[in-house]
Symmetry: C2
Subunit: 285 residues, 2 copies
């Protein structure tokens, strides 16, 4: 890359950092890349850090020392999170979204890349301080959310299949009880997709009784992998009646009126997580 | 947002544009956002445009007039595309990737957000000049690729299901012949996910005989939707024996040795598309 002046450097470093969240980048990388002195790079980083933090794009951490560098940690501002969730609740609360059986139609919403991307950023903010090796989801509708989260946390995704597939090689299968329908179903994961002791974050689109997530957790056991957290786009039903605990949700279905075909939603419990994180930070300082 | 100086403006505009590809943004949006004169904003945009184009991040188009503004069109540089594809071919050509039946194991690669993101950027570059309303894929492994492409093209994704699901409401189903296995299968799409006359880009992970893609095209017919193009991560077999034409692939399986369990891959035909686009541009100028 040719030598860049400050303005061009700021543009380039911004896009470089945004594309590499949760990645430690040594200052020498930038100094070499732009043929600039480290002191200039440090000044640039201060500007980027201030702007990112003021505008709620996330933290830019600078780590001193020989093994140091700069790391971009995406975090949403509380206002942004509240505005997003309010918009999702409003859209999902529109008429005609409740299907026979009380299911809520969300596929159009989860088909919009901006909606999915922002959900991923919220999950990445909530789980930013946990050590995560891999994100797990089960086909189908959780997949986009899992990848969006993964792109902000810079970790890979493994997809649990409803059946073992010939294109994935040997697989570990388990049976589980789908909580709502009480049917025995099978899910499987390719053996080579998950290493032992991996620390796993589960992301999915919907939880009610929790049978599917329970199945994924059982599958983790087969791999001797460890559960780090569970992030769900929309939760329904009572958390106490659920087969899994500690679910973090973005929105919560409060009431589904099957006759009027309309649902009432509120923000999920993830906002509490954002708050407590900020409070922790304040307590630490 | 408070008034920003040039350096901070450049950082903010860069992230703003990167998050909103293929979206026309009036200059007044930036002028209001940063409380700056339009002339300053124009100078900023020139800097961003030059840097983006030099570094192969894409085009920044400026459209003059009252209905004008600025639009970021992601495009990969040819070198970046070639380096990416060479890396994918090398990784997929490693030993132990060929599974019984001659299938190539790709799930780990397609689990890495950076790999998927870059594939999406390549597809978005190839199809940047076509009018696309929606991207269609079929569960499961094409989904991340479809969303990555959609995020660069700023269009929604619809997911064709292998079975009609209760959570999606009324659906249109068709039968199709899976080309390789010659089995009759069913695929379906929720009726409200695709409007009539929509212009659809199909994205999937793998094609051999083309039965699945043929099925998706037949499904488009049921919605009176229009096919704009087909982008596939990895193609196999002879294009002439295929049930669909005009497939654009990123990589091509040239030879699969089932006994040695190793495959040979080369770049797919998408590089020709990049070339001809650039040549068109040169001819136009």
């Amino acid at each position: 890359m040719k030598k860049l002046k400050r303005g061009s450097r700021l543009i380039e470093m911004t896009q470089f950092l945004l594309q590499r969240p949760h990645t430690l980048i040594p200052l020498t990388t930038f100094a070499d890349r732009y043929q600039s002195a480290k002191s200039s790079i440090s000044e640039d980083i201060v500007m980027i850090k201030e702007l990112f933090e003021e505008e709620g794009l996330g933290e830019v951490l600078t780590i001193a020392g020989a093994a140091g560098g700069v790391k971009y940690v995406p975090r949403v501002a509380r206002e942004e999170a509240e505005a997003y969730v309010a918009q999702i609740c409003a859209e999902l609360g529109q008429a005609e979204r409740v299907l026979p059986g009380g299911y809520l139609y969300m596929s159009d919403l989860l088909g919009r890349p901006q909606v999915v991307r922002e959900a991923g950023k919220l999950f990445a903010s909530v789980f930013a301080d946990r050590t995560i090796d891999v994100i797990m989801t089960v086909e189908t509708k959780g997949i986009p959310l899992a990848y969006a989260t993964a792109s902000f946390l810079n970790v890979p995704v493994v997809i649990v299949r409803r059946d073992a597939k010939v294109t994935e090689g040997s697989a570990v299968s388990i049976n589980y009880i789908s909580g709502s329908a009480k049917r025995i179903q099978t899910m499987s994961l390719a053996r080579r997709l998950l290493r032992q002791k991996a620390r796993v974050l589960i992301i999915d689109d919907y939880i009610k009784a929790g049978g599917t997530v329970r199945g994924m957790i059982d599958l983790l056991g087969e791999f001797e992998a460890e559960l780090v957290g569970v992030g769900i786009f929309a939760e329904s039903g009572d958390a106490q009646d659920r087969l899994v605990d500690d679910v973090i949700s973005l929105v919560k279905l409060q009431k589904v009126d099957e006759r009027a075909r309309v649902a009432q939603l509120t923000a999920g419990n993830f906002l509490e997580q954002l708050t407590s994180k900020q409070e922790n930070d304040e307590n630490e300082h």
